[in-house]
């Protein structure tokens, strides 16, 4: 399988160069950063003299979630107003934060807070991804602080995250078990070193203290196993926790009997406590990384999270989108989402990529209808009138599309069946063992049965496999791939068809020059003249040209009166000449109109031509090629124009019959359903992919900064590079291989242990020693197998420390 090792996807030259911000392989030979987000944030840190961030991070930096458009803060206004409504001189506001991954993030936010005047205190809880902001009334600009922090790739949102009861529950149980078990172990040492009933006072004290603490461990730590076993029995299911619960109960009962018979040195309380603690640790490990990955993002609150600015008379209030009716007057600020079809009262520029996949912002005249799902991509707020209510728009169906309920996977069914058979076989063996040794007396028969229950170790299923999953999740997290659903890695090895959205998924929602060499061919005068125009506009073509010209050494002239004509281009009047940079039909009518072509002209005569295309994510061709070589069927499904999709398919060397354009959200989902044999992976970023997400076996997104979609995905990845997908598929295969080996080792140990026990060659005490020894051995094997490929943080850190400050 070509994805047996994810990192092998990278060429050697790209792998040897690390990003100056996050330390990931850059993916493109000669580049300094792995993605534009890293470049932006690195430059901001240098500019603001915050490079200590790298020292604090110690090499554990992840690529940031930077956004291509301004982020709407419509949700913040009512919260700030409510916080400032009380009479207290200080105001408090709790917010959720997206993107916190290490101590350096906390340091950075605190450093920015200390620079903002009027702030009283700022407390971040990185575990939950929450922050508490306290400020002096009227002296602190909350919106500015939030915007300042968001520049660095974080995102704030209303406080919705809560610590789940189950994760808190396991932490408490684990803490109690560890504390009590350590003390039981200390008491047990005295028995191992010869404390006997001859020293009656001390012996009795240590025995009863051990029993009291072990009772606490059993009551607190083993309770989840007793509960699961009980629930399983009530429903007629033989749960894996049944033999665990039975083993714990039997060993505990036997130890109690020994204690009452003044034979505490023959009790198994230390082994019992260690076993229970390890089992709780396994459960907690299984849950911890997934909880952290889920908390990395803002909570998706569905349609209630979508806010709209509604104008009533002379006032504007921010209300939830479902409260808006047809005919309501709306104010759409830059970055705001249009939640229902709206008729514009004035012209504006809107981006439709989230809803249709159309890559470039489109200009709408006054009176035109902007579709629901568009974002205001302009620089100013636009007035509009709701043409329909929110419920009548397409958004509720897309936002509410459910991706849960995929049902158990093959792997899940395998583990359930394995656990059931394990339970049946272990219980049967205990009965057989007791029967075989019945003629040797009840005590001997009980010893054999208990030894069988204790020595047969379910730690492969109970601890080693959760540990293996945790190690893989953590490895992926370090490489910027964050898994949100616990069964994803079990589903991925089944994937035989991968379907991609185009805009924002395989492309970067920005433009690049089709032929970068064209810049080098410009004379210095023309180069500076083009830069003088492009640098003064925020249009995607201008941003693309300005970046390329700046890299080529263009100089910005001090004064230039540049006029921007929406939908046409830029104009500069100089020395009686009309210099234009824009669409061919407007700038130089003699030049034939061509999609993606921008012309620089002087008095209508062309001086230079710049063809732009959508920027492709680094690694796209390589990853698509490797996917096809691995025998996977690769599709491109886009809502964008069919001609653009066909052109893009040619660029990434995808067969034309596998590239479908002009698809509505329902049509995308229909294609997924048509090709799906419970083996499809869909990777997309827009809300128009929501139905396809629900139809696929697994779904992921590179757009963790966008609303709605991250909350529906099984995983998301950070940074621009598509190699993350290869990492994920490789990790899923690594995990499957490791799990198979763990099961094989566990089977071998259990078979030997059962044979020895049935032959009467072991005692419960020896079994109690063998079982944790086998657990530790299998855990060490798992750790060595899966933690070996951990990237050395020092490599990345040393590179980063050398970055100019």
């Amino acid at each position: 399988m070509p994805f047996a090792k994810g990192p092998d996807l990278l060429p050697d030259s790209a792998r040897s160069t690390r990003c100056r911000h996050c330390g990931s392989p850059v993916g493109v030979a000669g580049a300094s950063y792995c993605c534009s987000g890293c470049e932006v944030v690195h430059q901001l840190l240098v500019e603001h003299n915050l490079t200590r961030y790298y020292e604090v991070a110690g090499g554990s930096v992840l690529p940031p979630l930077t956004q291509d458009r301004a982020r709407s803060h419509a949700w913040l206004e009512p919260l700030r107003t409510a916080a400032e409504a009380n009479a207290s001189p200080v105001c408090t506001l709790d917010l959720d934060v997206q993107g916190i991954h290490c101590a350096a993030c906390v340091w950075l936010m605190n450093a920015l807070f200390r620079r903002a005047p009027g702030g009283a205190s700022f407390t971040v809880n990185p575990a939950l991804g929450k922050a508490r902001l306290v400020w002096k009334r009227g002296a602190f600009d909350v919106e500015k602080f939030v915007s300042d922090v968001e520049q660095f790739g974080y995102a704030f949102g209303p406080s919705r995250k809560t610590s789940t009861r189950s994760s808190r529950d396991l932490v408490v149980r684990l803490g109690v078990c560890v504390a009590a078990t350590m003390n039981v172990m200390l008491f047990s040492f005295s028995f191992y070193f010869g404390l006997s009933a001859k020293e009656a006072g001390t012996f009795e004290l240590f025995t009863w203290a051990s029993l009291a603490l072990a009772t606490v461990v059993v009551a607190v730590g083993a309770w989840p196993f007793f509960r699961a076993a009980h629930l399983g029995l009530r429903r007629g299911i033989l749960h894996l926790d049944l033999p665990i619960a039975l083993g714990i109960a039997l060993v505990y009962a036997l130890s109690v009997v020994q204690t009452f018979q003044h034979r505490g040195d023959h009790a198994y309380l230390d082994t019992l406590c260690v076993f229970v603690t390890l089992m709780v640790l396994g459960r907690w490990l299984q849950q911890r990384v997934l909880d952290r990955n889920r908390r990395f993002l803002l909570e998706d609150d569905g349609v209630d999270a979508l806010m709209v600015r509604r104008r009533t008379g002379d006032t504007v209030s921010v209300v939830p989108a479902p409260h808006v009716a047809a005919g309501d007057l709306l104010l759409i600020a830059p970055g705001d989402l249009v939640c229902m079809d709206a008729i514009l009262g004035e012209p504006g520029s809107f981006s439709l990529d989230w809803i249709t996949g159309e890559p470039q912002a489109r200009n709408f005249p006054a009176g035109a209808t902007v579709p629901a799902g568009a974002f205001n991509a302009g620089r100013r707020a636009v007035e509009a009138c709701a043409a329909q209510s929110f419920q009548q728009s397409v958004l509720p169906a897309l936002v509410s599309a459910r991706t849960e309920g995929q049902g158990p996977t093959d792997a899940g069914r395998f583990f359930d069946a394995l656990a059931r058979w394990y339970v049946v076989v272990v219980l049967a063996l205990a009965v057989v063992g007791a029967g075989l040794w019945a003629q040797a007396g009840l005590h001997r028969a009980t010893d054999v049965a208990v030894a069988l229950l204790v020595v047969t170790c379910p730690c492969a299923l109970g601890i080693a496999i959760p540990l293996a999953q945790e190690l893989v999740y953590a490895r992926l997290r370090r490489r910027g791939v964050l898994v949100r659903r616990s069964d994803l890695l079990e589903r991925l090895p089944r994937v035989r068809t991968v379907l991609f959205d185009k805009t924002g998924t395989l492309t970067l929602s920005r433009l690049e020059l089709a032929d970068p060499a064209v810049i080098r061919l410009l004379s210095p005068d023309v180069r500076d003249l083009t830069y003088a125009l492009a640098a003064r506009s925020n249009h995607p073509v201008s941003r693309c040209l300005a970046a390329a010209l700046s890299s080529a050494g263009a100089r910005l002239e001090g004064r230039a009166q540049v006029e921007e004509y929406p939908g046409q281009g830029l104009e500069l009047l100089r020395d009686g000449h009309r210099i234009r940079l824009g669409a061919p039909g407007w700038a130089a009518p003699a030049v034939p109109v061509q999609a993606g072509l921008t012309v620089l002209s002087c008095d209508g005569q062309p001086l230079a031509r710049f063809a732009t295309v959508e920027a492709v994510r680094p690694g796209v061709r390589r990853v698509l090629q490797r996917l096809r070589e691995a025998g996977l069927d690769v599709w491109l499904l886009s809502g964008d124009d069919e001609a653009r999709v066909a052109d893009f398919a040619r660029r990434v060397e995808l067969p034309p019959e596998r590239a479908l354009g002009g698809l509505s959200p329902a049509q995308k989902a229909e294609v997924v359903r048509r090709v799906d044999r419970r083996d499809t992976l869909f990777v997309g970023d827009g809300v128009n992919d929501a139905l396809a997400f629900a139809a696929a076996l697994a779904a992921g997104t590179p757009a963790a900064d966008r609303p709605v979609i991250p909350g529906k995905s099984d995983f998301f990845f950070l940074g621009d590079n598509l190699d993350a997908l290869g990492e994920l598929l490789g990790a899923a295969h690594d995990l499957r291989s490791a799990v198979r080996r763990i099961l094989a080792l566990a089977f071998t140990y259990n078979a030997l242990a059962v044979a020895v026990s049935l032959a009467g060659l072991t005692t419960p005490l020896a079994a109690a020693v063998a079982m944790p020894a086998s657990s530790v051995a299998i855990l060490l094997y798992t750790t060595a197998r899966l933690a070996g490929s951990r990237r050395s943080p020092s490599t990345a850190a040393s590179t980063l420390h050398q970055a100019p400050a």
């Binding site: 604090v56 290490c102 101590a103 993030c105 906390v106 340091w107 605190n110 450093a111 200390r114 620079r115 407390t123 971040v124 809880n125 990185p126 575990a127 939950l128 610590s163 808190r168 932490v171 408490v172 803490g175 109690v176 504390a179 009590a180 003390n183 200390l186 006072g201 001390t202 004290l205 240590f206 203290a209 603490l213």
Partner: protein
């Protein structure tokens, strides 16, 4: 014997205190606050 009893009692009280501390920390939802707490020594020398 009496010294041992006292030591065992103190040991158990320490266990109890640790558990109570953990419960309080979990209730405050700051039990995974190691990232923030590790930065506290840095706060004094951040002369912005």
């Amino acid at each position: 014997m009496s010294v041992l009893s006292l030591q065992v009692f103190v040991s158990l009280m320490l266990v109890l205190a640790a558990v109570v501390g953990l419960l309080y920390s979990v209730k405050q939802a700051d039990h995974e606050h190691a990232d923030r707490l590790s930065l506290l020594p840095l706060e004094d020398d951040e002369g912005e």
